[in-house]
């Protein structure tokens, strides 16, 4: 009879370890060597070069330029600035058209229809002034910049530019004690932080992966781009003559991106020298060939996969948020609405850090999605400053036809250049949205690190805004 099955595995393992003693370490090298030799031999027989050697000259020249020590970074920022400039310039007109249709035409029509159907005032207000207007605002403000920004970003990605960015940033990340591939996950964060958190799986070392997760928030996500672009247009663009306004606003947004990169390095450096210390792992990053992007397919997929998915997310969060805003503005306790009461109590803290109670309340309401911060702020500002003639009354989210009107509301709410700057900084640095936090929890499996990833950026946001406010007030920005 043959040996029983269960003893066989052990026999195999014993033989293996005996033989391993005999051959030592040579096998690994010998295997690799013969593998490479065989691959070279087969490739040598199959590959025919037309001119004796492959022509990669275009790729090489371009690579030398975009990864050069001198031109690499300036080219990167120039490209970013041009992309923002096109986004800001191009989004204005379609935004206005959409707002005109959704708010000026569709909204009164819906309210009249509601009234003619015999809806009570509170139901009509809750449905159309709260939920519908929140959704309309998000669509008109977010759709045009996304439809311009995402295809441009995707074209750069398809062309093969992202690995060059990673190559440029690699040395800096290594000096900060982090993994060079963090540059790639950071770039993903400029689209969506939650998706970027999943993409940190490309980083093998758990230590470096945690650093990448905890600092990803400093990459502005598409929920925050509209905030940055709008506030920069109102407060920074206004500082220069009108024909330079778009360029100045674009540069201000690039500045915010740079501050974000600076904090990414600073926090990575801090973490890798304290709680997450360890060796920096090496890796090889292949610079892929430049490929001519397939323009139509890219436009199609970036509109379907990115723009519509992100917009859908914004809309499904804006609808309940609109409802909440309408309710807190219309439910009165002791002669004061809940919103007014909360804003009043948050004001001292807000003003201390160069913001105000309205902004802080808006950030609390907007925890599920950064996309709705600006509409919430505008609506709440109208509520407390009482400039009801611009808006539509308590709890109505509205779209203002032009940036001038938006600016008028904000100035009436006591906003200054300093408030604008601090809002941009706070939007960059504050805690990630709840979707991202949930993704972090799923990826790390640790409630502790999830809390750290929420509280660390929030603390940094408060500290930075506080100091900027103090310095700004000293030099008379207010």
């Amino acid at each position: 009879m043959s040996t029983p099955m269960h003893s066989k595995p052990e026999q195999i393992l014993t033989t293996a370890s005996t033989l391993r003693w005999e051959i030592g370490e040579r096998l690994h090298d010998a295997t690799i060597e013969s593998l490479y030799r065989e691959a070279a031999r087969i490739a040598g027989r199959a590959v025919i070069l037309k001119d004796g050697k492959p022509r990669f000259s275009f790729d090489r020249t371009l690579d030398r330029l975009v990864t050069s020590r001198v031109f690499g970074f300036p080219l990167m920022f120039l490209m970013l600035a041009v992309v923002f400039w096109i986004t800001i310039e191009g989004a204005n007109v379609p935004s206005g058209l959409l707002a005109n249709f959704l708010v000026d035409i569709a909204h009164p029509f819906l309210k009249e229809t509601g009234a003619s159907l015999g809806f009570p005032w509170w139901l009509n207000g809750f449905l159309f002034d709260g939920m519908y207007l929140a959704m309309a605002w998000v669509i008109s403000v977010m759709l045009p910049p996304m439809a311009i920004f995402f295809p441009m970003f995707t074209l750069l990605e398809d062309f093969g530019y992202l690995p060059r960015v990673a190559f440029n940033l690699d040395a800096l990340f290594r000096r900060a004690g982090a993994h060079g591939k963090q540059a790639l996950t950071m770039a993903m964060g400029y689209g969506c932080n939650a998706a970027a958190i999943i993409s940190t799986r490309v980083i093998d070392s758990p230590r470096e992966r945690l650093i990448a997760i905890l600092t990803n928030n400093f990459a502005l996500c598409n929920g925050r781009w509209p905030t940055q672009i709008l506030v920069a247009t109102i407060f920074i663009g206004a500082l220069v003559p009108s024909h330079l306004a778009s360029a100045a606003s674009a540069l201000a947004v690039v500045g915010v991106v740079l501050i974000g990169i600076f904090f990414t390095f600073l926090v990575s450096w801090g973490l890798s020298r304290t709680v997450l210390s360890g060796e920096v792992s090496t890796f090889s990053l292949e610079l892929p060939p430049y490929r001519p992007p397939r323009i139509w397919r890219t436009l199609y997929t970036s509109v379907i996969d990115r723009t519509l998915i992100v917009l859908w997310r914004a809309v499904i969060w804006a609808i309940p948020a609109g409802a909440v805003i309408w309710l807190v503005s219309n439910i009165q306790i002791g002669g004061e609405s809940i919103a007014e009461w909360t804003i009043g109590s948050l004001d001292p803290v807000g003003i201390l850090i160069g913001l105000n109670g309205v902004i802080l309340l808006a950030y609390i309401i907007a925890i599920p999605a950064n996309e709705i911060v600006i509409p919430t702020i505008l609506m709440l500002t109208v509520l407390v400053s009482g400039s009801a003639e611009v808006g539509g009354g308590a709890g109505v989210m509205f779209e203002l036809d032009s940036e001038t009107a938006t600016a008028a509301v904000l100035h009436a709410g006591g906003w200054t250049l300093l408030t604008g700057i601090n809002l941009m900084l706070f939007s960059l640095l504050h805690n990630p949205c709840s979707t991202t936090l949930y993704t972090i929890y799923k990826e790390t499996g640790s409630a502790r690190w999830t809390w750290v990833s929420a509280l660390l950026p929030l603390a940094i946001a408060f500290i930075v805004s506080f100091f900027v406010a103090q310095i700004g007030r000293m030099v008379g920005l207010e």
Partner: protein, 282 residues
């Protein structure tokens, strides 16, 4: 009479490409499981998309696919499940993505493993092909990016390659949907056994090592007579690969010889799941 461009045939409904039905994410029963392996950034996700009709995000940077993506298609009346593996340069070391790829090819026992290679960087890509051919003999090499190779003045003689590797080699330009029908035909032939692969296995020169390897291979063969890759298992054991040692101890390797790939894919056993979620990158 007008001359026909061969590329036009590929989009003609009379062509056998018409036998392809893209099933997207559809679940259900499958006759065959196909794995998609390859170096990073050679267009695996593009091939995946053109076979399944899905729009898995593609991007021109290595490491885009960090999770296993699955899709399905039907060709010539047979249903196939397609698994897109993370891109790896080798299957020898132990990073997570290499482990996911290797474990699926070994323990998932796909009916066909398609290795997508970059025609402009053939030599380096062949390292992975040779390693895959050590583990499984049912393989098809998808010689992708031939359009790019042409642009760089590189021509690959796929017949010579096919002779040397012992498996079908299909030139494609997946970005332009070229060569996909021929790839499907090859996958079907290998899956059904109509084409029998006779893969070349790389030789080990040193006599001492060769003797140790053949001794070990014989042992493995004796214990698991129907294992398709005794030499590879022997090599891994001689290198002290803990994952394989573990698989022998727990009987996982023994199970391979009794269970078909399909049963495995249904029970989910033996495939190390990282996360089935599709990492959609915005």
């Amino acid at each position: 009479m007008t001359t026909l461009n061969p590329q036009q045939c590929e989009v003609c409904p009379v062509n056998k490409d018409a036998k392809l039905i893209r099933l997207g994410l559809e679940a259900g029963k499958f006759e065959f499981v196909v794995a998609l392996a390859g170096n990073p950034n050679v267009g695996k996700s593009t091939v995946f998309n053109s076979l399944t009709g899905l729009r898995q995000h593609t991007g021109n940077w290595p490491g885009k696919t960090v999770v296993r993506a699955e899709g399905a298609f039907s060709f010539d009346g047979k249903r196939y499940k397609l698994v897109d593996l993370p891109g790896t340069y080798s299957l020898l070391s132990t990073s997570t993505d290499e482990e996911v790829a290797r474990d699926f090819i070994l323990f998932g026992q796909p009916d066909v493993t398609v290795v997508v290679v970059d025609a402009t960087r053939l030599e380096r890509n062949l390292n992975l092909v040779l390693q895959v051919l050590e583990i499984t003999e049912k393989a098809v090499v998808c010689l992708n990016l031939i359009d790019e190779a042409k642009r760089h003045g590189i021509v690959v003689d796929e017949r010579a390659l096919m002779r040397d590797l012992g498996v079908p080699v299909i030139p494609t330009a997946a970005r332009a949907d070229q060569g996909i029908p021929a790839l499907l035909q090859a996958i079907a032939e290998v899956a059904t056994g109509a084409f029998v692969c006779k893969p070349k296995r790389f030789p080990i020169e040193s006599g001492v090592l060769r003797k140790a390897i053949s001794k070990m291979t014989a042992k493995v063969q004796l214990a698991f007579p129907s294992l398709p890759n005794p030499r590879w298992v022997a090599l891994r054991l001689l290198e002290g690969d803990q994952r394989i040692v573990e698989a022998i101890k727990t009987g996982e390797l023994g199970d391979l010889t009794r269970q078909t790939a399909l049963e495995k894919s249904l029970t989910g056993k033996g495939t190390k799941e990282m996360n089935d979620e599709h990492a959609h990158a915005f």
